[in-house]
């Protein structure tokens, strides 16, 4: 078995929750000896295409990253380097034989966290703090809200966008503002939100990564997203020489282990947990499909 040379290009610093999922998965794969991994972080839109080309010219076989801000250019690069495989977080379609895409689908897990939140809220108000209303953020918050409403039709949902991906103190202030507006459970699409919850002694839900260790008494559930299944699928294709120019998103679904809920069992009432677990099983079995709504949440 040959070791595949993989390069990661992160538009944000790798601390960013989303990037950290990719980064960790690749570090793990490297540790297991499956890949050789190098990366660049904080690569701006202007420099992104150059980074792709440089890695391609250096002979990396698989380039993993995100083409959200450079969809057109990224596909051009892929066309110019047909021997290199690209796996890009993207809102667009795959292109050619070597440009594969994936979306971040942890909406199923978000739905399940919403079910817990809806059951737990006393004020019947839950809030979400997001970065900017892009499809994958919208989808997540919508799923959370829907989950909450499913168990508690009375619930009122608040949404705030802070207008930037990187301002934890601001996310915290937005969280506080929602608490002031009555919310007693916060869904933190952005890091910083849970700090507000912690400060005011209420509960909070994390997204993408497991925030519970960081906020033990505050974050009772997380809508986890796992990149490893995506990476593995792409690695298989690269090793086999099959084209990677396809949409890998389905690998993100819960039934494939791409996302899941992680929660503190005794934080929520037992019947709420039971209802949620039932749904979880249904999703995994393909009996229930969480609706995908990419519209900006109202």
């Amino acid at each position: 078995q040959t070791v595949i040379k993989v390069a990661g290009i992160h538009a944000s610093p790798v601390e960013n929750a989303w990037n950290s999922r990719l980064h960790e998965a690749m570090l793990d794969a490297a540790k297991e000896g499956l890949i050789e991994y190098v990366f660049s972080e904080g690569v701006s839109g202007t420099d992104y295409a150059r980074a792709m080309r440089e890695y391609a010219e250096q002979g990396h076989q698989l380039i993993v990253g995100e083409s959200y801000a450079v969809e057109t250019e990224a596909r051009q690069v892929a066309a110019d380097y047909p021997d290199t495989a690209f796996l890009m977080g993207s809102s667009g379609e795959p292109s050619g034989d070597n440009f594969g895409t994936f979306g971040t689908w942890n909406h199923e897990a978000a739905y399940l966290t919403g079910m817990l939140a809806g059951a737990m809220t006393k004020s019947n108000v839950v809030g979400s703090v997001g970065a900017i209303p892009i499809p994958e953020v919208n989808m997540l918050i919508n799923a959370f809200n829907l989950g909450a409403k499913e168990v508690n039709p009375e619930v009122k949902t608040l949404v705030a966008f802070i207008g930037t991906f990187f301002d934890p103190p601001k996310a915290r202030e937005a969280g506080l503002a929602q608490i002031d507006a009555g919310a007693d459970i916060l869904f933190g699409e952005r890091i910083g939100t849970a700090d507000a919850a912690k400060e005011r002694g209420i509960k909070s839900v994390g997204s993408l990564i497991d925030y519970t260790p960081r906020y033990p008494d505050t974050v009772f559930a997380n809508a986890m997203w796992y990149f490893r299944p995506l990476l593995d699928a792409a690695l298989v294709d690269v090793a086999a020489g099959t084209p990677v120019g396809k949409n890998y998103t389905p690998t993100s679904l819960m039934k494939d282990g791409g996302n899941d809920i992680v929660y503190v069992p005794d934080a929520a009432p037992a019947e709420a947990v039971a209802a949620m677990e039932a749904k979880r099983t249904a999703i995994k079995a393909g009996e229930f499909e969480v609706p995908i709504n990419m519209e900006e949440p109202a």
Binding site: S20, P133, D167, P168
Partner: protein
Amino acid sequence: MMELLEIFTSAGIWGAVLRIATPLIFGTLGALICERAGVLNLGIEGIMTFGAMIGWLTVFNGGDLWVGLLAAAAFGAVFGLLHAGMTVTLGLSQHVTGLGITLFASSLSYFIFRLAVPLASSPPTIEPFQPLVIPYLSALPFFGDALFNQTAPTYLAILLAVILAYVLFRTPLGLAVRMTGENPHGAEAQGVNPIAVRIGAVMVGSALMAVGGAFLTLSAFNSFFPTMVQGRGWVCIALVVFASWRPGRALLGALLFALFDAYQLRLQAVLGKAVPYQLFLMVPYVLSIIALIVTARRARVPQALMQPYRRGER
């Protein structure tokens, strides 16, 4: 519409105002000191970033929170020395040096952070400043939550504005700083060394800027993120002009700015997406510009601002 006004009656918003304002107060006072001595310090954004990083790193490595603030101040002063060395001693362009320092200090912060801290999925945390409980006051209804539920650095920032106003307008040192900013030749003619005053002022000012940055990682939040200063430094530069170079008004300006910010965050909760959120985010900037228009005629710009002083040159 009542809802829009009701926001102001919650204690939460006033507490938020003080918190949001704190880094701005430090930064604005820092920039104000520099400018009173005649030096524009556009290095502020980078210096705040470095302060945020080094303050956090100090605490992360076992330092006390206050030691973290001190470390930030010390490194801020070092960058101040760099800025002063170039703009005061050599008399190089203050804009360009400042922008260069911003670029340098921020990239250096990220670089050091990356080398010093093991990669983790979410950035490691420290135990930040906790709200300081002030006997009786913190327990007051409404006001306790609104005003007296802050961390120590916030009170320090407010105190600093008062101290700075006193120093500038009531002490010989303050007079020397003001004279240097108005007419360094005049200062020199009275036996005050304008070069030394400027270097000192820029160092002290930069130290405050860095403390403002450190507040973000030691009190407002508990981790360091690259780019987390998010333009707060530039806002401070505007606030100095808004304040007509007066510490009291700087305090007021920072609070006002914070009020808009806190208000717009809460407004989103009320109005939802009826209005693009960008419009709210614009409000503080637009209001600053309007305030500048209103105060422009009355503002007394330090006459020697941005003018290099070289001894023995005319």
